[in-house]
């Protein structure tokens, strides 16, 4: 007898996400569906506006990837108008992007995803001295894990637990059969959880030095950047460098070693291995650190075959909506996409609740449409994007920095490269990516300082000819993977806009061929220890770092008034 489990809201992510799985009598997942339950229509709203405003509007796609869509919106317009921003502007954007990644990845691990790996309560029974020694197994210079520090953390936790109050740690699935850390390892991770709360504030400040504020920085403009006074002020520059180094130190001595610890501890836990999801990987070039050098290159791997890497052909990207709540189903290139909302809603059904009872619920219409997220495809194939795709493609391409980082991770964990293709690998690849940026991001800083000695320009000048039509795009990466924005400008205003974002690729519903995206595919075949506590599902989905506001977007090339579409609200 199959049973449906609904997880809605799927918390500790950005946005509104629902996942439904159907398990058989052995608690093995036979079917999986992921869908977003919110639509805002930002790309419709951008239309008809001044192209110079596009970046500010697209930025509001997401307050988490708070720099990614801002920069993408600005660069798409620059690309359309044929503007080349000065090198100073390009490198400043790289430094802000580095701050974003160095914020996003550790916070995702500790505050959002880590509790899927760390059994906080178990840390209470840790031997503090043993834990302090344990930390040296993963790095020569451990971070905040001296015996006195760990004792303090443990006592703090004890007071929380004794009072019956777990604060932010309440209501998790503690004691779940698939937790694999020893009490000592849990205590180390908990100490770093608390340190991360502090350090993430520092790196947000680093972005704000050039960006005015975080979230939603405000110093990019079509043609360049506006923070010229900060760039010409050595004390502001030093402030950035100091904060960067402080956080890089945390990444190298706490975050990265913790991932080695996790990779070793979880190397026998079936629910985090062998579930790569979609095994086609796609990534885009990112992190320009000098006039002609990037940290990561673009490429595509098909069927998990690391012996071949293809160059990306942007003409092969399409989006379709057979199973998404839009009227036009066919696969179209983003420049020509059509999207009119066609909400058909949830339907009456039954699912198992957290007490184990079958209860009436609203469920996905799995035979019809069930998500606000469209299905992007590359030559008709679903792709997995994100740090894992980025690391694998660059590893396969022989990118020197990446090969070195991956090899040393594999050596430290005793894992084969194939093991990266899993939930654990996605989480590990994110730490590898963060480490590479921490270790090499300041190259951009040094290039900037050098360049500023002879060149103070920060903005290119341009004109927008109202009689001309323009077409341009941004292609690059965000912390969650490959990101592209596509725009057309006509009569001096935006005629068309479309964003193809990382979470759209990964969270895609099924397409016309019945093939789902990576969230759905990675869940099929997974065995749950307890259907009332679907921790394995949550852990796998969290490993993608879902960003659902980003993933939900729409464009309407016909200029229809969307608000006039009739929606059956009784569904």
């Amino acid at each position: 007898m199959s049973k449906r489990i609904i997880i809605d809201p799927l918390t500790r992510i950005e946005g509104h996400l629902r996942v439904e799985v159907v398990v058989d009598e052995n608690n093995i997942i036979k079917e999986a569906y992921s869908g977003s339950t919110l639509w805002r229509g930002l790309e419709t709203i951008v239309k008809g506006r001044d192209p110079r405003d596009a970046g500010f509007l697209t930025q509001r796609i997401c307050g988490v990837c708070t720099f990614s869509h801002y920069r993408a919106g600005i660069i798409a317009v620059e690309n359309a108008l044929g503007i080349t921003p000065p090198l100073n502007a390009v490198l400043t954007r790289t430094l802000m992007n580095a701050a974003l990644y160095m914020h996003d990845h550790p916070v995702h691990f500790y505050q959002l995803h880590g509790l899927d790996f760390v059994d906080v309560v178990s840390a209470l029974s840790a031997d503090v001295k043993k834990a302090s020694d344990e930390a040296f197994k993963y790095t020569d210079i451990p971070y905040a894990t001296g015996a006195d520090k760990l004792l303090e953390v443990q006592q703090r936790l004890k007071t929380f637990v004794d009072k019956g109050n777990l604060g932010p740690f309440a209501n998790a699935y503690y004691g779940h059969a698939t937790y694999r850390f020893t009490p000592e390892q849990n205590l180390i991770a908990l100490s770093h959880y608390l340190e991360c709360l502090r350090i993430q504030r520092t790196i947000a400040q680093a972005m704000a030095i050039f960006g005015a504020k975080n979230p939603h920085p405000q110093s990019l403009t079509v043609g360049g950047v506006t923070c010229v006074m900060d760039l010409l002020d050595p004390s502001r520059m030093a402030e950035y460098m100091t904060k960067f180094q402080e956080v890089a130190d945390f990444i190298n001595r706490a975050y990265y070693p913790d991932l080695i610890m996790a990779a070793k501890a979880y190397s026998k836990e079936a629910s985090v291995l062998n579930d790569v999801g979609v095994n086609n990987f796609y990534t885009e070039r990112e992190f320009q650190v000098s006039s002609d050098e990037w940290l990561f290159e673009s490429g595509i791997i098909r069927n998990g075959d690391l012996s071949k890497v293809e160059e990306v052909d942007e003409a092969k990207i399409t989006e379709e909506a057979t199973r998404a709540w839009y009227a036009d189903n066919e696969a179209l290139h983003p420049y020509d996409g059509k999207t009119n909302p066609n909400y058909t809603g949830l339907i009456d059904g039954e699912s198992i609740d957290d007490k184990g009872n079958m209860v009436h619920s609203k469920v996905f219409d799995t035979k019809g449409k069930y998500s606000w997220i469209k299905a992007p495809r590359y030559e008709n194939l679903p792709m997995q994007v994100g740090p894992l795709a980025n690391i694998l493609v660059n590893y396969a391409k022989g990118n020197k920095i990446v090969v070195e980082a991956v090899d040393s991770f594999l050596k430290a964990t005793n894992l084969p490269v194939k093991a990266l293709m899993s939930t654990l690998g996605r989480t590990g690849a994110r730490a590898i990516e963060a480490k590479i940026i921490a270790d090499h991001g300041l190259k951009a800083f040094n290039s900037l300082v050098e360049n500023l000695k002879t060149d103070e320009s920060t903005c290119a000048t341009y004109v927008i000819d109202k009689n001309k039509e323009y077409k341009g795009r941004f292609i690059g990466s965000a912390p969650r993977g490959a990101l592209s924005h596509w725009c057309r400008i006509k009569n001096g205003v935006i005629e068309n806009w479309q964003a193809v974002v990382p979470s759209t690729w990964n969270a895609s519903p099924k397409d016309a061929n019945g093939v789902g995206g990576s969230y759905e595919q990675c869940l099929i075949g997974m065995k749950l220890a307890d259907v009332k506590q679907p921790l394995e599902v949550i852990r796998a989905i969290h490993s993608y770092d879902p960003c659902i506001a980003c993933a939900v977007h729409v464009m309407d090339t016909k200029g229809n008034n969307l608000s006039e579409y009739k929606v059956n609200v009784n569904l």
Partner: protein, 379 residues
């Protein structure tokens, strides 16, 4: 009776309320999180100044913060980008500001809570029932309505965002619309508003305190709660239900580049010589003269910077419908001034005159500067 006495009597009353079950007091939490009493008093004195109270009120503000754990908080996510939560929880954690919400009595918050799915829905229902009439409601995001109400559903029962927000409003002690989306509909409500999103005040009959900004600073969020605890009444509000203590002044009034404006020194183009010298950004579109908020005084990320310091003009993000009325953001308002929503309500006349005068002054000053420079060149 002096204000101090009134506050203390209110706090005495609050103190008699039971601690929320299973919660620890904020003083304990502070202690456990490594904050000394001295750190806490430093924060309290900064907050006192922020609320424009005399320094002698610092102990009262500290006590109010300590008693905030008698007030459960429910935070709802509607149609939004999570930037407001990020502002409060990401950039500032774990300072005392966030501790108050993050670690003490936050009953429901989708971005940070561990519970998911059914458990999350139960948490919300249980909190609304258990603390009926006693919880503080904070809502982030616009709310889809009309025949597109179902564009947002939450939970296994597929309730709409509007239904959940209305239910939560009905039994709340005080309601705060956090951010421009919740206050005025925000970006999703910008033309053509395809999801028919509205601000929170449009779906409830109860008074909603608007805390706009995209995002608002964490101090404006926390300050309002402290203010509410102290006065036990809603703060004085402007025509858009924004607390006057935080939104009474224009960005322009306390701007660090104000002297440049008065001197007629303007950036003509981003990246020019004026930009390097910190000239006024009015002519590249700064909306500071039309925007009511305390950014120029408080800045962001622990005073690290703010848009004008980073060389970009204000875009007016705490004003209603700013996406439609303030754009293009990098052009002067000048001629389009009176097409905006300015002037609704009590401040009508003075605002129009104020802005009119300012605009004329600005243009005149700019013109003067141009003429002066032309004449100089002639010499």
């Amino acid at each position: 009776m002096s204000d101090l006495d009134i506050f203390n009597r209110r706090l005495d009353a609050l103190e008699k309320l039971p601690l929320l079950k299973n919660e620890i007091s904020i003083s304990k939490a502070l202690e456990q999180s490594g904050f000394s009493r001295r750190d806490f008093m430093k924060w309290a004195s900064a907050m006192t100044a922020f609320l424009a109270l005399p320094a002698s009120f610092t102990p009262v503000v500290a006590r109010a913060a300590e008693l905030s754990d008698r007030l459960p908080v429910i935070w709802l996510h509607m149609a939004e980008c999570t930037g407001c939560s990020e502002s409060l929880l990401r950039t500032d954690a774990p300072t005392i500001d966030s501790l108050i919400f993050d670690h003490i009595s936050l009953e429901y918050h989708e971005t940070i809570m561990n519970a998911a799915g059914w458990q999350a829905e139960h948490n919300l229902e249980a909190a609304m029932e258990k603390y009926k009439g006693r919880y503080i409601l904070m809502v982030e995001g616009g709310i889809p309505t009309g025949n597109t109400e179902h564009f947002l559903t939450i939970g296994p029962h597929g309730k709409t965002g509007k239904q959940i927000a209305q239910q939560a409003c009905d039994n709340a002690l005080a309601i705060f619309a956090i951010g421009t989306c919740s206050a005025f509909g925000g970006i999703q409500a910008a033309r053509p508003n395809p999801s028919n999103s509205v601000g929170l005040s449009k779906v409830t009959n109860k008074t909603v305190i608007n805390v706009p900004g995209c995002p608002p600073s964490e101090k404006n969020i926390i300050g309002n709660v402290i203010h509410y605890i102290l006065y036990q009444t809603l703060p004085a509000l402007d025509a858009y239900n924004r607390p006057k203590w935080a939104y009474a002044l224009r960005i322009h009034d306390l701007c660090e580049r104000r002297g440049r404006f008065d001197a007629g020194e303007f950036v003509q183009q981003f990246g020019d010589e004026g930009a390097k010298k910190g000239y006024c950004l009015y002519k590249v579109g700064c909306k500071g003269p039309y925007t009511f908020n305390n950014c120029s005084k408080e800045r962001f990320n622990q005073h690290t910077s703010w848009p004008v310091q980073a060389g970009h003009g204000c875009i007016g993000c705490s004003e209603p419908d700013f996406w439609d009325t303030m754009g293009p953001f990098e052009e002067v308002m000048a001629g389009r001034l009176f097409d905006t929503v300015y002037g609704l309500g009590a401040d009508n006349i003075s605002d129009k005159i104020g802005i009119g005068v300012l605009c004329v002054t600005g243009v005149a000053v700019a013109a003067h500067a141009v003429i002066a420079s032309l004449e100089k060149n002639k010499d």
